[in-house]
């Protein structure tokens, strides 16, 4: 089979066409539009599976389909100015395509059940199609710029989906929050693209790898930082925004305002996965930029911190949201410790079981209908004992919970264990890595605990809201509700990921020792990393590279006997520890919520301060709103306004008088401060003073912004010395 752009394009174009047509007919022919969307994503899945099985048949780590066409070419002589567009499909992309289209198909089908009675039933599918198409385009993108384009398109789609119920104030705020927060990361991302362009002269992944191998980044510094570090960090900031990593994780829980199927799509298959996918793609750059430790730490912090917050949530979707952040933390941790394919594997397994979890939660929520408020119920304190009412949903959710908790034989165990094992390996090598590693293990414990807490609160025990329970109908099997759940829950079994496939036919015991993920997904091939600058915390390259490179069960680039043994040993320890941890988490939850031997209230009162902090999500929102925006951005805005109005308008005109007056004001200010209020409330007075001055002068002047743009651009040109 020979794949060209036109044979790959249907994967992206089918959903996009469905979107384009659907957007116009949705008002009159809702059903037709929905069928169109579902059919298109099914077709897309068909094409994606062709590619996926093609790659499985080839079964070669280095096999890549890389086709480009010139978008525009304005280069002349030695000044290259050429931009290509195209596709870049390696094993990772193929797997990703298969997963995204598959999960999206199931979510589409489930949505026909879940959104049936919604008044904007058709429009939901319009967004879903566009969203899926953007994600697929991002996955097959060949260069960073087109990644960025679809990245932003996806940002827009998530904005629309989160604010789907825009009548609700919370939804309106949540989508703005999501949009703005991810935008912070995107700005950095764009800057990273510019930095790469300035060095490589191209933004294609292949060219970037080649440039890294050729050492083009060596000895390049901007603002005293190595350019590779700057670029890698900027791109990683994009991941931080999109994949909701610490400290930009605040938007994701609020994304719950969207309909549940769209949460499943955002949290599982598309949006957040895109961030991790990007950092996997740019992994060599980050390694060359010595960013691995930072990445690992951020991942660890996110994994643990989000898990702690999830402990105290009562909204079933909120628990899942925080568990998503936590799991994303694991993926980033995996990236940080060089566990490339385990991170990717966790991305895939997580996508499957998280989609299933959300769909099950949606199924639960959809069934629980409050007859007084005419709203669906999401609060766990009002649930309980639902396993008799909806046994099928319960079973599906149980599978997924087992998977996410890291119970053996389920997919989550396979991938998370591997990440943690690699982290342990790194930690044994370098003591600083103990921090993310311990955070990771702690997070695993908490994950097992809160997920089972959720299960127990929802499905076990006595129904706590009798009225609600009685009104809930017994689950009837309907194809568009249960088939997606069934398929997804089957795929939570670890055997699909840890099995070995190869050669002709799909499953063949060729590499008995090696699981297909491990042998198929490999780091982008970069010859040498020549940057030798010392890393943070006294950590030097030479050791780290060898071990992290060799820590993969790579049959071709063989480890020495001894090293392989060491690696296996460490991994076995890690696996044992995580099994113990997972079961103890389940045990604690069991003791607390089933047998009621241990009273949760006691623990709450013991750690009341912590509890409050957790309930307020570590005060992140407060910090952003009160601290950053009110104390930081608005004064900055005021300062800029001051420069605009106070300097630009005022001093240029009748300068001397104004200067005099300003001197006088300054003198008075010093007088007041020094004579009156130095000791008493100096700080407060100065803040108030600035506020009074700056608040009165506000700017909305376009020309001032224009001048600022000019200055920034010229500044950029002068500093980068183009």
């Amino acid at each position: 089979m020979d794949f060209t752009i036109s044979t790959v394009a249907p994967i992206v174009l089918l959903p996009f066409l469905a979107f384009a047509i659907n957007a116009f007919i949705v008002k009159r022919f809702t059903t037709l539009g929905v069928i169109l969307s579902c059919a298109s994503i099914l077709g897309s899945f068909f094409y994606a599976s062709r590619i996926f099985f093609h790659f499985l048949n080839v079964y070669n780590t280095d096999y890549v389909i890389h086709k480009t066409f010139t978008w525009f070419d304005l280069s002349y002589g030695e000044f290259p100015f050429k931009l290509d567009m195209g596709i870049y499909i390696d094993n990772m992309t193929a797997t990703m395509l298969f997963m995204v289209t598959g999960v999206a198909t199931l979510i589409h089908i489930f949505s026909t059940y879940y959104m049936k009675d919604d008044k904007r039933y058709g429009r939901f599918f319009v967004y879903l199609s566009l969203f899926t198409s953007a994600m697929l385009a991002l996955v097959v993108s060949e260069n960073l710029l087109s990644v960025f384009i679809f990245w932003e398109l996806m940002g827009f789609c998530s904005y629309s989906l989160i604010g789907f119920y825009y009548e609700k104030e919370g939804a309106g705020n949540a989508n703005i929050k999501a949009f703005m927060t991810t935008r912070v990361g995107d700005v950095f991302f764009l800057f990273g693209i510019l930095a790469i362009w300035s060095v490589v002269g191209s933004v294609s992944f292949v060219d970037i790898y080649a440039a890294l191998g050729a050492g083009k980044f060596n000895g390049l510094y901007a603002l005293g930082i190595p350019l590779a570090t700057l670029a890698g960090a900027s791109i990683f900031m994009g991941t931080v925004g999109k994949s909701a990593q610490f400290p930009l994780q605040v938007w994701l829980p609020d994304a719950m305002w969207g309909p549940t199927p769209c949460s499943a799509l955002i949290h599982a298959a598309t949006m957040v996965a895109a961030g991790v996918y990007l950092s996997l793609r740019c992994y060599p750059l980050m390694e060359a930029g010595h960013l691995t430790y930072v990445i690992a730490t951020i991942g660890g912090i996110t994994a643990f911190g989000a898990a702690t917050i999830a402990l105290v949530q009562t909204d079933i979707k909120a628990v899942l949201a925080y568990s998503t952040i936590s799991q994303l933390g694991y993926m980033v941790l995996g990236v940080g410790v060089g566990s490339y394919n385990a991170a990717f594997m966790h991305l895939i397994t997580h996508a499957v079981f998280k989609a299933c979890l959300f769909l099950s939660a949606g199924s639960v929520i959809h069934s629980l209908h409050d007859h007084h408020t005419h709203a669906h119920v999401q609060e766990m304190p009002r649930m309980g004992g639902l396993k008799d009412k909806m046994p099928f949903t319960f079973l599906a959710m149980l599978c997924c919970t087992l998977a996410i908790a890291g119970i053996p034989f389920f997919s989550g165990f396979v991938s998370k264990d591997r990440i943690l094992g690699d982290a342990l390996l790194m930690a044994l090598h370098n003591k600083w890595y103990w921090i993310p590693t311990v955070l990771g293990f702690g997070g695993a414990l908490l994950t097992a605990f809160y997920m089972f807490r959720m299960m127990f609160l929802t499905f076990f025990g006595e129904p706590r809201d009798k009225d609600l329970y009685d009104h809930t109908k017994k689950e009837t099997l309907s194809w568009n509700r249960n088939v997606p759940l069934l398929i997804l829950s089957v795929f939570t079994l670890g055997v699909f990921y840890a099995g070995s496939l190869s050669g002709q036919g799909i499953v063949k015991v060729a590499h008995e020792k090696y699981e297909w993920f491990q042998t198929l997904i490999a780091k982008p091939h970069v010859e040498t990393f020549t940057a030798k600058a010392p890393q943070a915390f006294g950590w030097t390259d030479e050791g780290s590279m060898t071990v992290s490179e060799k820590s993969h069960y790579d049959p071709d680039h063989g480890l020495s006997e001894e090293e392989a043994h060491h690696v296996h040993h460490v991994h076995h320890i890690g696996a044992l520890v995580s099994i113990v941890i997972a079961f103890s988490g389940v045990f604690i939850a069991f003791m607390m919520y089933i047998t009621r031997k241990w009273n949760p209230g006691f623990w709450v009162s013991l750690f009341s301060g912590w509890y409050r902090a957790l309930q307020n999500k570590y005060y992140f929102d407060d910090f952003y709103i009160k601290g950053l925006i009110q104390k930081g951005l608005i004064p900055l805005n005021n300062l800029l306004a001051f420069i605009d109005m106070g300097i630009y308008d005022r001093y240029a005109v009748d300068g001397w008088e104004k200067v005099n007056r300003a001197m006088f004001t300054m003198a008075k200010w010093f007088d007041n401060i020094i004579v009156d209020t130095v000791a008493v409330d100096g700080t407060g007075a100065s803040v108030r003073f600035f506020n009074v001055i700056l608040r009165t002068i506000q700017s909305g002047k376009i020309q001032f912004y224009f001048i600022m743009i000019i200055l920034v651009l010229t500044g950029y040109i002068w500093t980068l010395n183009i």
Binding site: F72, L74, Q698, S699, G700
Partner: protein
């Protein structure tokens, strides 16, 4: 006489003139005149490089599309200006400051 440096200089001059107009004027239509100048300078640059440093004429298409987009921009921009005038009875740019605060 007809050479790349002279064309670059002309385009440079147009660009500078556009910037000057955009910054110095307070009248929205006058600012749009400045924008047209800047767009012209960009299009001129494309055409000049096409002639002096390139084999294909893709640059001409680039200029053509710049001209097309400039026309669209002028149409929409001026419509907005006219509407703005109908509402506010002024086209002073500092009165278009709804974004303040």
């Amino acid at each position: 006489m007809i050479s790349l440096p002279s064309y670059l200089f002309l385009s440079f001059a147009l660009f500078i003139a556009g910037i000057a107009v955009m910054v110095a004027r307070k009248n929205i239509i006058a600012i749009m005149l400045g924008i047209e100048l800047i767009l012209n300078s960009a299009a001129l640059n494309f055409a000049a490089y096409t002639r002096f440093a390139n084999d294909n004429i893709d640059g001409h298409l680039m200029s053509l599309f710049i001209i097309v987009i400039a026309a669209a921009e002028a149409a929409v921009g001026l419509a907005i200006v006219i509407r703005f005038f109908q509402i506010k009875e002024t086209i002073h740019i500092d009165d278009a400051a709804q974004l303040q605060n």
